[in-house]
Amino acid sequence: MGKVEIINGVETINGEGFQLTLLDKVIGAARANSVWPLPFATSCCGIEYMGTMGSNYDVARFGMERMSFSPRQADLLIVAGTISKKLAPILKQVYEQMAEPKWVLSVGACACSGGIFDTYSVLQGIDRVIPVDVYVPGCPPRPEQIIEGCMNIHRLVKSESLRRRYSDEYKHLLKKYDLNDE
């Protein structure tokens, strides 16, 4: 794996965000309240994500309990856990299979940056292969932090215009990651 340019998140908040039409707002609110996650849980953070689904934290309150393991139906890719270099192409494939609009939540130190595993086999942050919207720190993060991250995703979703996914910036972003626009 060569040197990959790091892209700093997805710039939505300060882009078109302020010119939302009413339709954008309504659809944004609808989308934000019905984010179906695809838990790409590989390791420890996956257990904390299970804890988030459990009774004590209940991610269902945000309308997020319907997990869709099929990428076609998912809106949010929750990457929780270490992504090794062997797994990176699969992660990218899953991301590509997801239907627009899609968001990515990177949960935990391993997914965000490799964390403690600065080793030959671990990808140093998933933002080297797919664009990440929200980072959740912690190893593993508490369910509170995961919920916090989801709420940040909701904020992002609400402020996104319907046209963003067709915009040139977005196409450019995908191109940077060498993702083909379906």
Binding site: N8, G9, A109, V134, Q145
Partner: protein, 179 residues
Amino acid sequence: MESLSNRKKVVSNKKMTFMEKLYFPAILGGMWITFKHLFKKHNTVKYPEVKREFAPVYRGQHVLKRDEEGRENCTACGLCAVACPAEAITMTSEERKKGEEHLYREEKYAATYEINMLRCIFCGLCEEACPKEAIFLTDRLVPTYFERNDFIYGKDKLVEPVDQRVDISKRQLTGKRPA
């Protein structure tokens, strides 16, 4: 195979009684259990509004402490960086100049002190390593951000403000430093 420990006991019983073969008793029993839970008080902590209580020793966001006079405790000895398994701490040290005694307690201080919160695994080893009672983990949580760079916590976010002290007195690791 003979018993290795003389303590074994077969626990699985695969023979079904007639009642169990009928499906219904167990099904109704199970449904009765779930039905009772319908009326139980829910166990959920509505997170953003209600916050769950953390243990006082919880290992959350770090704080760089000041002493009672508001001087920074850190002397930039670098033990925390060495102790960090994730190699998330970086710092540069500088000599204290004249007239800065009210800012820094020791002769040397950390000019920059950065923790990469995305790397950090919150293991608490830096807190244990610190010989100057400077760095502590607190029960605050590191928030989530949209951008990667936001997670590099410099001194602006780590050093406790003079007027907003962070209470770490309940952490049992705290030794009483003699005056």
